[in-house]
C-alpha cells in the first residue's frame, strides 16, 4: 500500500469519525476539527504543499456532510495546512507539546478564517461573539486530540526526509 493510499484511507476514516462519532462526544457543546488537525500534521511533517493538498481533500470530504457552503472547510484546512508547513521550516526544535500548541493555534486561525469567509458568504450561524467562543472551545478540543492525530499521521506516512521534497519535485 503506497503512502498516498494510506493517507487517503486515513482521511476517509477521519471524516467518517468526525461525522458519525464526534457529534456524540461534544466537549463544552463543540466538536473538534479532525480534518484540520490532519492537515496540520501533514503540513508539519511533509511541508506546505502536502499540507494544502491534504487539507483540501479532508475539508472537501467534510464539506459534503455539512449545510455550510461546499468548499468552505476545504479552503480553511488548505490554508492552515499550508501555513503550518511554511512556519515549520523556521522551527529548530520539536518539543513534545508542539502538536497540542499547533492544535490550538491552527484551530483558532482556521476557525477565524472560517468565520471570516462564512460571514462573507452569508452563513448565519457564524455571526456574533458566540462564533468566536465556539471556535475557542473547538481549538482547545483540537489541542487535546492533536498528539494522537500527529502520532497516527506519523505512523501512516513513516519517517522519510526525502519525501518532504518529493511533494514539490513530483
Amino acid at each position: 500500500m503506497t503512502r498516498a493510499s494510506r493517507l487517503g484511507a486515513l482521511i476517509f476514516v477521519i471524516v467518517i469519525t468526525q461525522v458519525a462519532v464526534f457529534p456524540h462526544l461534544r466537549l463544552f457543546g463543540v466538536v473538534p476539527d479532525l480534518g484540520m488537525i490532519v492537515a496540520l500534521a501533514v503540513g508539519y511533517q511533509e511541508g506546505p504543499e502536502a499540507g494544502a493538498i491534504v487539507g483540501f481533500v479532508a475539508g472537501f470530504g467534510f464539506d459534503l456532510f455539512l449545510s455550510t457552503p461546499l468548499g468552505l472547510d476545504a479552503l480553511t484546512y488548505a490554508i492552515v495546512g499550508y501555513a503550518i508547513g511554511v512556519l515549520e521550516s523556521g522551527l529548530f526544535r520539536s518539543p513534545r507539546w508542539l502538536p497540542s500548541f499547533l492544535g490550538v493555534v491552527g484551530g483558532l486561525a482556521g476557525g477565524l478564517l472560517f468565520i471570516g469567509i462564512g460571514v462573507l458568504v452569508g452563513v448565519g450561524a457564524v455571526k456574533g461573539t458566540q462564533g468566536v467562543v465556539t471556535i475557542s472551545y473547538a481549538a482547545l478540543y483540537d489541542a487535546l486530540l492533536a498528539p494522537l492525530v500527529f502520532f497516527l499521521v506519523r505512523r501512516v506516512l513513516g519517517r522519510d526526509d526525502r519525501v518532504r521534497d518529493a511533494w514539490s519535485s513530483r
Binding site: 461525522v19 458519525a20 464526534f22 456524540h24 468548499g71 450561524a125 456574533g128 465556539t134
Partner: protein
Amino acid sequence: MAGARRASRRRYVLLVILLTCLTLITLDTRNGRSGPLGAMGRIAHRIVSPAQGAVDDVARPVGDWWDGLINSGNLKRDNRRLQEQIAALRGKETAADQAIKENIELKKSLLLHNLLEVKNVTGLIVGRDPGNFDPTLTIDKGSETGISVDMPVIAPEGIVGKVIEVWNGGAKIQVLTDPNFSVGVQTPGHGASPATTGIASGQVGSHDLAVLFDAGTSVLRGDQIVTSPQSTLFPSGLAVGTIATATNQPGNIGVNATITPYVHLGALQHVTVLLWSQGTPGPVLPTTTTTSTTTTTTVPGSTTTTRVGG
C-alpha cells in the same frame, strides 16, 4: 535555482486550491445543492449513511455516558426541575382532559373537521450537528419514501424544522434554531386584542426564536405560539413554543419577542416528516362535503395519516 522553482510550484498549487475552493463556494451559494455538487453530497451520504447508522447505535450509549460525565451537575438540576414539572402537569391534566372532552363535543356539534390529516413518514435520527456551525439532523428515511426538499418536520411536542437535502435512504433537516430558518407564527388573541402574525427566526448562540410583531400587539409571557395561516412552509396551527420575553421597541414601532420552542432537539430520537409541499393544499387539507345526513372526508392517497393540529 531548484529551491526557487520549488517555492514557485508551492505557490502555484496553493493558488489552484484557493481558486477551486472559491469556485465551489460561489457555485454552492448561488445554485444550492441541486447540481453536480449536490449529487456528490448525496452520493457521499448514501455511502456513509449505513455506517453512520451502525456507528450511531454504538456511539449513542457512549455519547450518553460522555454527556453524563461532562454535564453531571446539569443532569441533577434538570432532574429536579423535571420532577417539579411533572407534579405541576399532573395537576393540570385533569383540567385539560375536561377541556379536550368539551372541545370534541363542540366540534361534533358544529360539524367542523378542521384537524389536518397529513401523509407523513417517521424517521430515526442517525446523525446530528457534524460541525460547530451546522445545526442539522440527519434521518434514515429519504426520497424513496416521498420526502423532498422544504417539507416540514415535526415531533409530538411541536415543529422541528424543514428538509434541506434528500437522498435515497436519508434526509438532512435544518432545525428551527438555525439562524437561517424562519417560520410564520401566530399569537393567541387576548380579549379585544386579535391574534397577530409574525415571522420567527433562529438566533445565533440561542435556543430561542426571535420574532417582531406589529406595534400594539398583545403578547404575554407564556403565550402559546402556533404556525400562522400565512406560513408557506408549514400547515397552520402546529405548535411552535411559548413566549419567553416580549418588549416594546423604542418608539413603539413593534414588539420584540422571543419564543422558547417546545421541542428539545437534544432529546429527539425520531421525527416526523409531513409529506406536504408549500402551495399544494390538495394532499393535506381534507375536502369536506356535507349532505343533509352524512359528512364525507376524503384525503388523496392511502399512506399513513396522522392528526397534527386542531
